[in-house]
Symmetry: C2
Subunit: 546 residues, 2 copies
């Protein structure tokens, strides 16, 4: 320690003018404003040329410049962090006592400050801690001061120190509340969709925003290989190299997924675990990392079913914190978000699996029923595809199209209850046999009658042989009574029947089929549906047997 260090003796009186100033400063409720005014008061009192004010951060063991006085390069200095051992302000924080340097001669204790203030001619410096209950809450430095009696300054700072402490606590608490509010907003976004890609995008953008990071990335475990697959990535430049793979256990992300621990890396270059192959691909320079596991909770499935297991489905990384370094409260916040996000993601996965299973089962039955008659193989699947294409041309909403597709996949389900003798008959049917065959829409409706959720689907089954002129079956409905779904499936069904071979005739060409459909518009078929089919056909959205 330099020889000219002198402790400041506490004074015993406070004049009314100074008291007024203190009271004014103390009325600030914004930390940065309080620090600016406090530093100004110190510099004016000591007739100093330049001033710096620092706040310590115990979570990262650093001390950062939070206010300046008389210095032009203010913006460059604000936010600069030093380790506690790296400069005089840090030393003052640790020693909890003021240091007076009456002359500055490149003292080793000051290397950080001298570096930061390298263009200024510095003569002397007083470094004073603001102490509350034995803890330093702030450090003030006055450079090139002229008033060496610093007793009043220390007294002033004693009175202001508890204000700094309280506003530091307030700011931390407000930051926390603000971030939690942000987190709740993100939960709104991820909760209102079952679309995996959309959830992933929100998670990744959310992580970046929550932690004020330059970029973030999300990896999901590939269940077959165990690799971690980059699902989506977000950085300032919008670079998102999808499908990057990291082998299991490799890199920070591999460590996090394997151990279930969160990891903070202050300097990625120095961390052995950092898998810089990712940086090579993305040309992104990773400085600092906060990585947390994506751990889904056990999800109760309801309806006499069990629960999924709690497990780690991947990992989430925030990269390069914009201000300062990642700290433990960042980690706990990101983990809180990741836990919720992983569970929401898993629920979306379950939902999509359930939808896929449902459609696959419907398709399997549909195909099996069609396959009873080799001449109708693939018929219902084609009618479903073409009905959906017509509906899209007509601008129907996706949910109606979904139900229409299912209905079309099942429109001939009643053939399950039409005997093989009729269904597979090689020649033409007798009138009696034809009557049985014409019962298939009713038989189909009977089969699915107990499935209350199939409303739209039932129309497809019951009405696909109705005609606008009322001469269709089974109910002889007329134009106004047939639903749009019924009209669409009727057109798609007729087109597929016409363009397919039958035991008793060859298929029509597509052109012949369209001519026949057009000729029957307004009689058998809905004109708009026929035109929509034709438009879809022109766009190659229509499938047919040949």
């Amino acid at each position: 320690m330099s020889q000219d260090v002198q402790p400041i003796e506490p004074g015993v009186s406070l004049n009314s003018c100074l008291l007024d100033q203190i009271n004014q400063i103390a009325s600030c409720t914004v930390l940065s404003e309080l620090l600016d005014r406090l530093l100004e008061l110190c510099c004016r009192t000591t007739k100093a040329e330049y001033g710096l004010c620092y706040l310590p951060d115990l979570t990262t063991n650093t001390i950062a410049v939070e206010a300046t006085w008389g210095i032009e390069a203010r913006e460059r200095l604000l936010g600069i962090q030093f380790g506690f051992e790296e400069g005089l302000a840090g030393e003052c924080f640790q020693a909890k006592q003021p240091f007076i340097f009456k002359s500055i001669n490149q003292d080793i204790f000051m290397k950080v400050e001298l570096n930061a203030l390298y263009r200024l001619a510095l003569l002397n410096v007083a470094t004073v801690p603001l102490v509350v209950s034995g803890e330093v809450v702030c450090v003030v430095q006055c450079y090139n001061y002229h008033e060496s009696d610093l007793a009043n300054l220390q007294l002033t700072l004693n009175l202001l120190a508890p204000h700094v402490q309280k506003l530091s606590l307030l700011q931390a608490s407000q930051d926390r509340a603000h971030r939690l509010e942000g987190l709740v907003g993100m939960l709104h976004a991820i909760n209102s969709t079952y679309e995996q890609e959309s959830i992933l995008t929100t998670i990744i953008e959310g992580a970046k925003q929550l932690l004020n990071a330059e970029a973030s990335s999300l990896f999901l475990v590939d269940e077959s290989s165990g690799d971690l697959v980059l699902k989506i990535s977000s950085s300032q430049e919008g670079v998102s190299p999808k499908n990057l793979r990291v082998p299991a256990g490799k890199g920070i992300i591999g460590y996090v997924v394997e151990t279930g621990e969160s990891v903070i890396v202050a300097d990625a270059k120095k961390d052995q675990r950092h898998y810089n192959q990712a940086d090579d691909v993305t040309h992104f320079v990773t400085r600092s990392i906060l990585a947390v596991p994506l751990r889904t909770r056990s999800i109760q499935l309801g309806a006499r079913r069990g629960a999924t297991e709690e497990r780690i489905i991947g990992g989430l990384e925030a990269l390069n914190k914009r201000k300062g370094t990642f700290a433990s409260d960042d980690a706990s916040l990101l983990q809180m978000f990741a836990d919720l996000a992983a569970t929401v993601l898993q629920k979306a996965h379950l939902w999509n699996e359930a939808n896929e299973l449902y459609l696959d089962v419907i398709r399997a039955f549909s195909a099996a029923i069609d396959a009873k008659d080799p001449y109708t193989q693939g018929h219902m699947e084609r009618v479903a595809t073409n009905s959906a294409a017509i509906a899209e041309e007509l601008g129907l909403d996706p949910e109606t199209i979904h139900h229409l597709r299912v209905g079309a996949l099942l429109h001939d389900v009643g053939k399950l209850n039409v005997g093989d003798a009729i269904l597979k008959k090689a020649g033409p049917l007798t009138p009696d046999e034809y009557e049985v065959m014409k019962g298939h829409p009713l038989r189909g409706e009977e089969i699915l009658r107990k499935v209350h959720q199939l409303q739209t689907e039932t129309s497809a089954i019951l009405q696909h042989h109705e005609r606008l002129d009322g001469k269709g079956y089974p109910n002889g409905l007329n134009d106004g009574e047939i639903s749009l779904v019924g009209r669409i499936v009727a057109v798609a069904d007729a087109f597929d029947a016409m363009t397919s071979d039958r035991p008793y005739r060859k298929h029509l060409t597509n052109e012949e089929a369209f001519q026949r459909l057009l000729a029957e518009c307004g009689i058998s078929y809905d004109e708009e549906c026929v035109h929509a089919l034709f438009r879809a056909y022109k766009k190659k959205a229509i499938t047919f047997q040949h």
Copy 2:
């Protein structure tokens, strides 16, 4: 205003001893502690006998006792709220100046304080505001004081006022962060289940806890009648009268659901909208109410499907705030929770509907296939029920039982591709016909082969005619090769076949069937499964045709 009111002149000096005391008090970072010590200092300085310290609440326009000095009934006084117009402390808050009453003679300005302190002999009182930037942040009252020169007191309070202000802000911010954290925790709980009842319980308990309310209740709109149905209720006494109905638009909750607005009712007795029929049923005395709508967001369904509509599905009420009254920040917090909870609830509803739809469709196909042969009507449904009963006896997990049930519902699905001539033949089958019939497990597996998620189910289909001795079909698997699911369905299938009529024989009695199954244990059937079936039969968990 009484004649003996005197303003206090601000002093100009502060002795070192007082400064030390102020500094010590200022180091407090907990509001209640600061107020206690501040009040003690005031009472000691003025040699007062009793003291009260109040904080204003601008969201509810009240002033509440937050610290006492020298008063035994401390616990009874803390938290008492007065309107700004109701007492001297409120008057002082509004006037922003001190009042000195040198004698107390039941002054009308003091009615509230006199009522609160009714057992104490009160002689005089100084009521002093703590002012920061022209706003009163705190009011102190010193009763029976002896030191009438209050200049130093005012000076002290001037220095402490900004600390009170900051800690008030800090406490509010910490409360907010704490409540948001609580909210996030509740989201964890409601997000990790698809069970509606469990979600409802968490919402209701969560609302109570978040708002520190005595009770809370949740109403869902009954879609058919529009009534609001009390789904679950939570109060201190654990009273939960389910299925109480409130007609659409009635009561506070009806108003909230109809308008989508949140409502705060400070005094339920005075609010015309309060539907006190609910109180009559529950014997719960509702004092204050905070009600918010349960508004579900639009949910994207994914997989080329559409989105559900945003709508109000019910309402959530918190009843009787334990301390103070409901304020706007309570309302915004509860609304935030309700929005998320409603969306989670709606997703659970969608999930349960999807599961129900899936099972209903499987059941419909199962029944239709069984119905092709009048002798097997209801067979697969019974085998499914009995397979599940066996599995429960064996202690299998619910998820396996779910898949087993689906597999059993479909175990004969291959009969779809066995011709009517064989399936419906009245007499015994020829050897060739029997070979075709024996192909039905393979035909079933073929039908569902493309449905990748049906693993367990495929075992039920493929293995239900295998025998432990290897003489079963289609693959002649031996004991070690047959899955547990295959063994279970084999037993359930055999039992149902034995106890049902066939064209060529009458059914066996249940006792005869069990004897035959037992005789074949270890040869055809798995002994544990047969015993489990018998145990379930004894518990009346088994269904059969007769």
